[in-house]
């Protein structure tokens, strides 16, 4: 019975493509791969646009550039949007470093925006400007910290899944904003804009956007130092890398989790504060404008490095504005901009595979088959 094994001629397929992990790619090559990916994505976008519009590809690229940097208004807008996206990415990064997947940036921005708007709307008339701004800021930060603390508390004490929890909190924020809009705007149109929020506008230095950009620039440096050179930052890394090690050396994991999420939520709320108090002077349910999600990508693409995030957020904003311009100049449906952005992101994210892995095509397959024939 045991001898019934036949060494039979079996048709087996040798894998054609081998995927192996790269040891470590020199920085120059890693950058080269990414640059090639961006160029390839532009090329592909050009081809798609020509296919749809029949226009000259170079005019497409010129339009993309024009969309982001064509006028001084556009330059300022690109800078501001980059700064806002970057700030959210910085907030998420503190949590991500701890392997705490905070995908509730959207809700944390909104709750900060809401807190700011509520202060402006209800006590705008009754306190001096500087005090109002201070109250707006503190309320927003507290609201954001609470929005971050809730999922952290439940994860620390009951082991809930932070991804779902933070995601759900986004919808709570949206509903709260909707509630505020209904209550505050008696006209029934549910809009709160500069005409309603007349007090508590942030001071204008050089340009209406400049203060917000400056705040984020400072924040970038602060977060970089916080994560890299402080005891808190060190604890965040240890908890993120291995909770067991953290326990072993006596780090209070729950405390670190709560503290870090409070910071993460508060920074997101700061963005809400800057958006409402500094630039929009109004609030809608889409004030956060998906930054809470886009920032996840910004953070990951930069490998959690705050200074790299300046580049990745700038890149994403540049592409988005460019694509928007292309679809409007060439008279295309607004979704076309989304398609172009999607293509670009696909290339940028996809190239990370080639940074980390190497493909080998199996060349000896034929030889083996030939030899097998000879043996037979």
């Amino acid at each position: 019975m045991k001898n019934d094994v036949k060494v039979k001629e079996k048709k087996t397929h040798e894998p054609l493509i081998h995927i192996t992990k790269r040891a470590a790619l020199p920085l120059s090559q890693a950058i080269l791969i990414r640059v090639v990916a961006i160029l390839a994505s532009l090329l592909f976008c050009g081809v798609i646009t020509i296919f749809v519009t029949g226009d000259n590809p170079f005019s497409v690229y010129a339009t993309i550039f024009d969309g982001a940097f064509g006028t001084s208004v556009r330059i300022w807008r690109t800078l501001l949007e980059t700064a806002m996206l970057l700030a959210v990415a910085l907030a998420l990064t503190t949590a991500f470093k701890m392997r705490f997947w905070n995908i509730g940036g959207e809700g944390q921005i909104l709750i900060g925006a809401l807190a700011t708007a509520v202060c402006m709307f209800y006590i705008g008339n009754s306190v001096p400007r500087w005090a109002l701004i201070l109250i707006m800021l503190v309320t927003a930060l507290i609201a954001g910290a609470v929005w971050g603390l809730l999922p952290a508390f439940f994860k620390a004490h009951f082991g809930t899944n932070e991804t779902l929890f933070t995601l759900m909190m986004n919808y709570v924020s949206i509903q709260l904003v909707r509630f505020f809009l209904n209550v505050a705007d008696k006209s029934g149109q549910s809009t709160i804009g500069p005409t309603e929020l007349t007090h508590g506008w942030l001071p204008e230095i050089i340009h209406p956007y400049f203060l917000s950009i400056l705040v984020v620039a400072v924040l970038t440096v602060v977060i970089y130092i916080y994560l890299k050179y402080t005891k808190h930052g060190y604890e965040i890394s240890v908890v993120g890398e291995s909770e067991n090690t953290a326990r072993y050396i006596g780090i209070n994991v729950k405390k670190v989790m709560l503290r870090t999420m409070a910071i993460s939520g508060a920074i997101c709320a700061l963005v809400g504060f800057l958006l409402v108090g500094g630039t929009h002077h109004g609030i809608t349910t889409s004030t956060a404008d998906s930054r809470g999600f886009t920032a996840i990508m910004v953070s990951w693409l930069a490998h959690f490095n705050p200074f790299m995030m300046v580049l990745t957020s700038a890149l994403i904003i540049f592409m988005a504005h460019g694509a928007e311009e292309v679809s409007s100049v060439f008279g295309l449906n607004a979704s076309f901009a989304d398609i172009l952005t999607g293509i670009i992101l696909f290339f940028i994210i996809g190239c990370e595979f080639f940074v980390n892995y190497q493909l080998h095509v199996n060349r000896k397959k034929k030889n083996l088959a030939d030899e097998a024939k000879e043996v037979a």
């Binding site: 060494v7 402080t230 808190h232 930052g233 060190y234 067991n244 072993y248 097998a372």
Partner: protein, 511 residues
Amino acid sequence: MSNVPALELKGITKRFGEVVANRDVDLDVRHGEILAILGENGSGKTTLMNMISGIYFPDEGEIFIDGAPVTIASPKDAFSYGIGMIHQHFKLIDVFTAAENIVLGIEDGKYDLKRATERIAEITARYGFELDPKKKIYDMAVSEKQTVEIIKVLYRGAEILILDEPTAVLTPQETQKLFAVLRKMRDDGKSIIIITHKMHEVLSISDRVAVLRRGEHIATVNTAETNEGALTEMMVGKKVSLNIARSEPKEPLDRLVVRGLNCVNREGVKVLDNVSFEARSGEILGIAGIAGSGQRELLEAIAGLQKLENGEILYYDPKAGGEEVNLRDKTPVQIRDLGVRLSFVPEDRLGMGLVGNMDITDNMMLRSYRVGHSFFVDRKPPHELAERIIDELEVVTPGTTTPVRRLSGGNVQKVLVGREIAAAPTVLMAAYPVRGLDINSSYTIYHLLNRQKESGVAVIFVGEDLDVLLELCDRILVIGSGVITGTLDARKTTKEEVGYLMTATERREEA
């Protein structure tokens, strides 16, 4: 038997990124023989076997079965050629019986457990296994689980059996039983490949030995014509002395006294049952036992990482003139704040003792980063410590900024042990400190432990290799299923006695 080898490898090469796991390996296994594959950790033994059993695919080279070239691209292919591998980590389903596990995944269109049980009985009788096919896996001891794994591959008609470190989890007595079974299988004409790095086992079980070093096949020799020294030299590439110096303890004083510890794990199972012992200054206390008998919980309890039901852990401070401190229910930080200098080298180096993705400096900082009131970390002292350890313990690394996970096992352990010793401990606990280390690194660690002992530290050493425990320790504490089954004088006891005590609780339960 024909002269054609049952299995032959020609020019097998396998790379992982820049690492060459196997380079141009030629190897043959005959019918009816036991071939031992000997090599240090990281020498490519397991990778090579994984290619034979279809888990990896070689980058270069050919495999022949009974002289015919074959392509093994999956474990299924391997089975069709009669190759069966028994892995170090068992792949069994806990809630199934032995028989159910054995027939699992066989696609012959029918599920006839009764016939299967008969066939299992036939196999067990033929080779002298002891197995109850109706017993559930979760009721089984490790050795029984291994038996199920072996029968599983025999049931599928394996002619070539590969066993990856089969004795790592067995007591000396169980090892002897396994070897008897393997010999019967060999006499029945089966080819058996056994991977191991325990020299005396190689000499007692195998017919031939193939030695691998750094992925290359050094030589295959007849076991009868070689000896331990020659094999070690081939394995390591140079001569090594295999003696551990052991000095007499100087003025041993009770340093750590453990009384009546009871501990229940998350599943509610009792893992420590009324454990009492004392560790003395200037001596090495060995803890022997089958893996998972409560050693980890015991050390973690002392280090302040394990919740206890009851019992006490008393520490006698040599500085304060022998003042008594109870460490029970204290966190690691509280223990340190009491001035207790307790160092702990945990079993899980990269998952607990160190952070794999951090560099050596940052890993040094794990113990000391809290020092001072500054909001910022001071990387200077840990950096100096890192340089000192690299220098003194001859850690092979490109520099202090290399992530420790990139270092080899031995160097990782040097970094960890170095850090723990640098804290000038009065109690040093080390769990399996030489697991996975090559011979040279192992001896470095033994010497370090010995030096600590000589300077008056109470050393607690949890080990798995009984030969080493007997040579290195002063006293040996034997633990079985969370119960201390004996304390032995390491200079007078024997391996058999330790092995007997290791399983004493199991026998009591069965009786």
